[in-house]
Symmetry: C3
Subunit: 421 residues, 3 copies
Amino acid sequence: MSQALKSKNKTTEHMGQKNAPSKGILISFLVFAVAVAILFAPSLNSNVAQGMEGFNANAASSSDTVSQYGTILDTLQYGRSIHILAMLLVGFGFLMAFIRKHGYSSITATFLVVSVAIPMYMLIKSFGGEHFAMSTIDIKTFLFAEFAAASLLISIGAPLGRLRMDQYILMALLFIPAYIFNEWLILESGYFHGFIDTGGSVVIHAFGAYFGLGVVANTFSSFKNDPACENDSTSNQFCLLGSMILWLFWPSFTSAIVSPDRVVLTAINTIFALCGSTLATYIFSTLLRGKVEIEDIANAALAGGVAIGSLCDITSPGYAMLIGIGAGALSTIGYSIIAPKLESLIKGTDTCGINNLHGMPGILGGLTAIFVSGNTTVQLGGIVVTLIVAFVCGRASGFIISMFGKKAVPYSDQDEFMLDH
Amino acid sequence: MSQALKSKNKTTEHMGQKNAPSKGILISFLVFAVAVAILFAPSLNSNVAQGMEGFNANAASSSDTVSQYGTILDTLQYGRSIHILAMLLVGFGFLMAFIRKHGYSSITATFLVVSVAIPMYMLIKSFGGEHFAMSTIDIKTFLFAEFAAASLLISIGAPLGRLRMDQYILMALLFIPAYIFNEWLILESGYFHGFIDTGGSVVIHAFGAYFGLGVVANTFSSFKNDPACENDSTSNQFCLLGSMILWLFWPSFTSAIVSPDRVVLTAINTIFALCGSTLATYIFSTLLRGKVEIEDIANAALAGGVAIGSLCDITSPGYAMLIGIGAGALSTIGYSIIAPKLESLIKGTDTCGINNLHGMPGILGGLTAIFVSGNTTVQLGGIVVTLIVAFVCGRASGFIISMFGKKAVPYSDQDEFMLDH
Amino acid sequence: MSQALKSKNKTTEHMGQKNAPSKGILISFLVFAVAVAILFAPSLNSNVAQGMEGFNANAASSSDTVSQYGTILDTLQYGRSIHILAMLLVGFGFLMAFIRKHGYSSITATFLVVSVAIPMYMLIKSFGGEHFAMSTIDIKTFLFAEFAAASLLISIGAPLGRLRMDQYILMALLFIPAYIFNEWLILESGYFHGFIDTGGSVVIHAFGAYFGLGVVANTFSSFKNDPACENDSTSNQFCLLGSMILWLFWPSFTSAIVSPDRVVLTAINTIFALCGSTLATYIFSTLLRGKVEIEDIANAALAGGVAIGSLCDITSPGYAMLIGIGAGALSTIGYSIIAPKLESLIKGTDTCGINNLHGMPGILGGLTAIFVSGNTTVQLGGIVVTLIVAFVCGRASGFIISMFGKKAVPYSDQDEFMLDH
C-alpha cells in the first residue's frame, strides 16, 4: 500500500471516528437517560414524592367546588399543552423537513430534542428554592418545559442539516440549562420586575434564535460555501403542513398560562396577528421578489404569532393585527434582503432563517410592550440581556459541539440513516 | 421590428398586466388590511372598547361560580374553535392540494382567504343593531367567523386552479358580505323563524357550494376544455390527509355552538353520519366504477358530515348514520355521474366537485329537517332563498373577478411562485 | 381456442371472482350498514330511547351545579376523544402508508375499519345486562368504541398489503365481537378482579397484536416469499407524520377514562414514557444496525406509550421514563432481531411489525403492574388469557378471511384503485 493511500485511509478512519457517534457516546446518552429517570424517583426527589402524596390527599377532598374548579382548569390547560406538543413535533418537525433528502434527519432530530428537553427541564426545576423550583406533577410545569423545547427547536433551525443526531442531543443538553438561567434571570429573579412577555416573544423566540445564531457563528462556517440546501415540491408541502400546524395551534401557545378569563382574548389577538402577518407576507414577498417565495409563506406568515407574544393577553385585536402586519413585513424583508448580509456578518449559515422568523419579530414583540407598560428601561434591559445570554451561551455551545466533529454529508440523510430499501 | 411583432409584444405586455397582480393591487390590499386593523381600535369601535372594559370589571367578580362556569364553557368552545381552525387550514388546504403542480397555490390561497375572512367577518359584525352586531371579543363570534371562512373555502373549490392569488383575496372580499347577508336573512331577520340548521348544512355548505358554482358559471368557461387537472400519488395522499383532518374534527364543527349538554350527542351523531357516508362511498364507488376512485374516498366520505348539519343536535345516532349513508351514496353518484352533466349545464368547471360534496348533501341535510320540524314552508323557503342568494351573488362576483384577468397557466404554481430551487 | 387458453381463461375468471369483491358482497355490506343504523332507532333500542329522553329531563335540571360539573367533565372527555380519533385516522392511517404504491389502500382501509368498528361496538354494547351494556349516548361508551377501533387498527397491521378492502371490513366484523368478549372477560366479568390496565397495554395493544398475528399465522404464508414491501422517502415521511400524531395525542389515549384529578399525572407519565422510548430507539437502532433505521424511529419510539398503559395513572414520571426506555429498547430489538425469527415460527408475515410495537411492549406493560399490585396470579392470568383469546380468534378469523380469496397484487393499490389519472 502506497504511503499516500495509507495516509488517506488514516484520514478516512479519523474522519470516520469524528463523523459518526461512537458507541461510547451512545451508551453515555443511555446512562444519562436512565439517570434522569432515576432522579425523579420519589425516594430521591421530594418534589415528586409530595406530588404523588397529593393525590391521596386530594381523593378525600375532590368533591368540593374549589378542588373541582382547579381540576377543570388544569384539564383545560392540558388540552392546550397537547396543542403545543403538536406544534413541537408536527409543527417544527415538518417545518424543518423542507430540505430534500434530509427529511428523516429533521424529523428524528425533532423527536430527539423534545425527548431530551422536557424531562431535563422538569428535572432541573424539581429542585431549588421557592423562587425557582416548580411542582413536577403539575400541568404548568409541563407547559414551561414545552416552552423550553420550543425555544430549543427554534435554535436548532440555525445549524440544521450540518449536525449529527448525537450533536443535536448534545446541543439540547447545553441549551436547557442556559434557557433556564435566562428564564430565571428575566422572569423570576426580580431584577426585571414588570417585564412583559406573556407569550414569550423575547424569552422563548428571541432567546432560541440568538442561541442558534451563536451556535453557527464561525463554528460551522466551513459549510458557508456549500451549495444551498435543496428543496422540492414534496418537501416544501411537508414544510407547509408544519407551518399550518404551528399557525393553527399558536393561540394555545400564547394562551397557555394566561389567567382563565383571558384565554379567549389572547386567542383572538393571536389569530388576528397571524392573519396580519400572513397577508403581509404574501404582499411583501410578491412586491420584493416579483413572485411568491414559498419559504416566505411557510415561515414569515407565522411572524405575527412570534411578535404578539409579549402583548397577547393585554392588547386588543386591531392592534394585534397591526403588530402582525409589521412582523410579517419585517420577516419577509428578513428572508429576502437581510439574511444574506447577516450570514456574512456572523460568518455562518442560518439554515431555517430563524433570525427572520424568531429573532427580529421576537425583538419587535418585546419592544411593542414599551407602548403599554411605558417601562422602557426594564423592557429594553430584558431584551438586551436575553440577547447577550443567548448569543454567548450559543457561541460557547457551538464551540463544544464542534469538538465532536461534523456531519459527513451536509443536508443529507445518507450518512446516518439506512436508505437502501 | 415588424408591426406584427410589436403588436404581439404589446399583447404580451397587456396580458402580463392582466396575468399578474399589479403593485397597485398589492398595495391596496396592504392598505385594506391596515384599515381593517385600525377600525378595531377601541377609540373607533365601541364594541371592542366595551369588550376590553369587560376584562377589568370581570377581574373583580371572577371568583363567583356563575362567572367561573361561563369562563369554562368559553374555554371549552375555544377548544372546538381550534379544531375548526385545523379543518380550515390543514383540512381544506390539503384537500385542495390534490392538483399536482398546484400545491403551493392551493395551500397559499387557503392561508390568504382565512386571513381575510376572519377579521373581515368580525369587523362587519362589530357594528349594527342588536339583531346583527356580535361582541367582538367573544369566542362565539370567532366561531361564526370560522363558519364564514369554511363556507368561503368551499366556494373557492369551484374555480380552484384558475384564479390568481389576488383574485382569491378579491373573491373573499366579495364573499363575506354576501354570506353575512344570507346568514342574517335566514337565521337572524326572523323571516325564517323555525329554520333548523345547527351545523350549517344549508347556510354554510350549500351557500358556499352555490356561490362557487355561480362564480364559475360561464365566467371561467374558457378553461372548460383544458385537460383535466393532474394529480398523482403524493398529491392525492396530501389530499387524503386533508380529508382525514376534516373527518375527525367535524364533530367540533357541528357541536361548536350547541348547548353545552348536547355536545356529546351532537358529536356522536356526527361521527355516525361520517361512518355511514364513508362506508357508502366505498360501496358505491366500487359498484359504479368497478374500482375505487380515490377522489370519492377523499371527498364523498365527508358527505355525512355535510348532511347531518341540520339535525346534528336533535336526531339520534341511528338516523344520523342513515342520513350519512344516503349522503355518501348521493355524493359518490354526484362525482361519478352528475358532475359532467352539471358542468355542461352551467358551462363552467367545478374543480373540486363542491356540488357533489357540499351542494347536494347540504340540500339533503336541509330537507331532512322537515321530518323533524314538519315546518315544510320555512325549511324549503330557507333552502331556496339561500341557493338563490348564493348563486346570484356568486355569479356577480365571478363577473367582477373576471375583470381582473386570469391565471396565466391553469392548475400550475409556476406563474405565481418561484420554483427554481 | 386451444384447450390451454380456455383453461387459462377459466383460471383468470376464477381468480377474477376471488380477487375482487362481488356485487353481492358490496350490497351485503350496504344492507349490513343500514341494518346497524336501524337497530339504533329509539323504537327498537330502549338504550337509545332512554338516552334521548334524558335530554328533555336534563333541560329542566341543567342549571344545577352537579349537572354542570358532569357536562363539563363530559366535554373535557370529548376533547380527548377527538384526540384519539386523530390517532385512529391520521395516526394509524399514515403510519401504515409507509408502503410505497399502497398509500391509497392503507388510508382507505383505515377509514373503513374505523367506520365499521365504532358503530358496531356501540351497537353490541347497547344491549345486554348491567355488567355489559353501556349507555349509547355517552362519551365514555364512545371512548371504549375508539379503544376497540385502535386495537383493530393494530391487528390489521399484520396482514397489511395482502387483504382486499372488503376483507378488511370482514376482519373488522370478526374482530369486534372477539374484542368485546375479551374486554368483558378480563375487565367486567369479575374473573380477573384487580387486573390493572388503565391505558390498555394488554386488552388493547397486546390483544390487537396477537389477533393480527393469529390472522397471518399460516393463512397468508403464500406471501411469505414475496419481495419485502417497498418504501421510499415520501412514503416514510407520511409514516413519520402518522407516528408523530400518535406520539403527541397518546396522553389523551391513556388519560381518556381516568378519574378527572389524575388526567395531568397520567399525561405527564405518558410523555415521560414516550421520551424514554424515543431516546432508547435512537440509541439501540444505531448500536444494533450501525445506522438509524427510520422504521425503528417511526414505530419503536411509540413503544413507551404502549408499555405505560397499565400503570399510567398510578406510577410517577421517573418510573414511567424507565418503562419507556425498556420498551423502546425491547421494540427496537424486536424490529432488528426478533421479527425474522417470529415470522418463520408462525409462517406468516407481520407487515407492520405489530409484535414489536404492540405485542411485546404490551406484555411488558402488563407485567410492570405486578410490581405495584403484587397480584401476580390475576395479572399474569389476564395477560395469558388475553393472548390465547386473541390468537385463537385471530387464527379462526384468518381462516374465514382466506376463504374470500386474496388481493391480486400484494402491497399495491393497482388492483383496487383507479390509478390512470
